[in-house]
Symmetry: C2
Subunit: 334 residues, 2 copies
């Protein structure tokens, strides 16, 4: 009998189709392969192919927008939103619009073209999260920006258009709907129990351990109770904090370790499947929230989302999270 | 400057990236082609390859589960949910689950293998909607079913696994989240204006006409104000009704005409792109609702949904709806 499970934060129901359970080898693969590109605008020596950097990690004393960097953040050359201008909100009959004001930046994670988060050194993986933090702390000073989406599309199958390892951020003048839903679900839970729902999840998962993938000093990586997608995995800080950008250096270093190990495990078990990674964090202009807890969601791209999912916001997942967690937990990685 | 637009029902914000506007030829195509399959379980003569039919349109006097039918509805051979059993809702710590009880049926739209909604006769297209209506009226007698999702995945790129023209229905013991969101948004609008938001949309679109694709006696086909996807199109009944299954025969015949013409236009302009079609309707166990209005959403599959969209519920659409409506409106179809 398939299982219907409810996500305790958003209230989203998911069908876990346990009687046609899929193991890693059952999925159609679209493995991410580095083919090499003739001219990569993210490689050292091509700094003039991108807009000037907004941040870079490089030995001190070096000139900006020149080779020698370990990580580089640049505005997206084809941004979805524009940094300049006023929002100028307007009505049009019953409809609402405003100018597409926002920031769209690319984090070039490493100077090396043919690598990825699972192959990089832990310190280099941590650098990505230090860069995200540094950019958020800078961008949140602009009061027009209400939310900053921090994400990575890995591989063409997950929407990446360039193969050089990179992540992205989009600063928005509105708080997106999915974030509002999480906040509202977490508020309801807090109103009822007077505890953070994510803190309760971390506690329960650390106790039952059936969905745990790995645990470090500061983080728990686990499959959620009601995953939308096979092998979906969440990384949650063990200590309560609503805003990603408040993470301390020791935590960010530790996050580099967790993420590297998790991606290595996924790459091994799912043979380099494309994936999306998204940091879920509280709106930047809000103070610390007792009911919300930042975390990272990683979703390998193994199935297609079809009409049923779009129509209903109701997902069919052919792999129980207890099984996907076991595969990832038991993967032997160094 | 890109445009930020808010959907008046759900409150979802969409970036309409008008300065990198995409025309039909700019998308990567994955055209739907009929290759022919060695053995098609949906073709006449192979009725024993499917579970026994729950409904069929065939000349009276003919035997069930034999050739001669014009349309056939059968249980899905690999259902996501099981019809038998109790829900048996249970807790597991802070989590909720229940048995995956529900119905999963396939509507085989026509006996002909190598056709599609745009090529079929209007009466045959109408038959699909008569079948959806008939099955909903039957299934809603079962009080375990709270919602019935009616949808079509056309083409592999949209999630179809068989090429013979077919649609699907899934009867669920819970009301899915996306439906609850629409209902809640529509309730808020009604509370404020004392009018149905969809009735207001129909009125405003018929007046401005910039997003209208086609209009018939009973229906308006138009691009929505804030589409998530390029060429997303909605078909709305002009007269208020919350439940699809209450549509009268004259309306369903008219729906067959609208849908055939719309699909023909899409197939011409987008060169047979895959698409998803979903009927948005009120929960089956509710009485008529003044604030909700059933309608159909059609989403051609032209772009990939990547991390940003998953993370935020915030969409970037490179084609303004005024442009997509113009292309579809001006397509010459017979």
């Amino acid at each position: 009998m398939p299982d219907l499970r409810k996500d305790p934060i958003t209230g989203r129901w998911v069908i876990i189709a346990s009687d046609r359970a899929k193991r890693p080898n059952d999925f159609v693969r679209e493995p991410v392969e580095v083919r090499g590109e003739r001219i990569c605008p993210f490689c050292p020596g091509f700094e003039n192919k991108t807009p000037p950097e907004t941040l870079a990690y490089r030995p001190s004393g070096q000139e900006a927008n020149r080779p020698g960097w370990a990580l580089r953040v640049v505005p997206n050359k084809f941004p979805a939103l524009r940094v300049e201008g006023d929002l100028n909100p307007q009505g049009e009959g019953l409809y609402d619009r405003m100018n597409g004001v926002g920031a769209h930046e690319v984090v070039i994670e490493t100077a090396e073209h043919a690598t990825n988060l699972g192959l990089m050194a832990e310190q280099d993986v941590a650098n990505l999260f230090f860069a995200f933090r540094d950019r958020v702390l800078d961008l949140k000073k602009d009061p027009r920006f209400r939310y900053i989406v921090l994400f990575k599309n890995h591989g063409q199958g997950a929407g990446a258009s360039l193969e050089h390892p990179h992540s992205q951020l989009i600063a928005l003048p509105v708080v997106p709907k999915r974030v509002l839903e999480e906040l509202s679900g977490a508020t309801k839970y807090y109103g009822f129990r007077e505890r953070c729902v994510f803190c309760d999840i971390v506690r329960q998962e650390m106790h039952s351990r059936t969905r745990v993938v790995l645990e470090t000093e500061h983080f728990l990586a686990a499959s959620p109770w009601a995953p939308r997608f096979p092998f979906e995995t969440w990384v949650m800080p063990k200590r309560h904090a609503s805003h990603f950008e408040t993470a301390l250096p020791a935590q960010i270093h530790n996050l580099g370790q967790v993420m590297r190990s998790l991606v290595r495990r996924m790459d091994q078990v799912l043979e380099n499947a494309p994936y999306n990674m998204i940091i879920h964090t509280a709106p930047v202009q809000e103070g610390p929230l007792e009911h919300y807890h930042w975390h990272i969601e990683i979703m390998p791209k193994l199935t297609r989302v079809a009409g049923f999912e779009w129509g209903s916001g109701f997902y069919i997942n052919p792999t129980p999270p207890e099984e996907s967690a076991k595969f990832l937990r038991e993967a032997t990685v160094t």
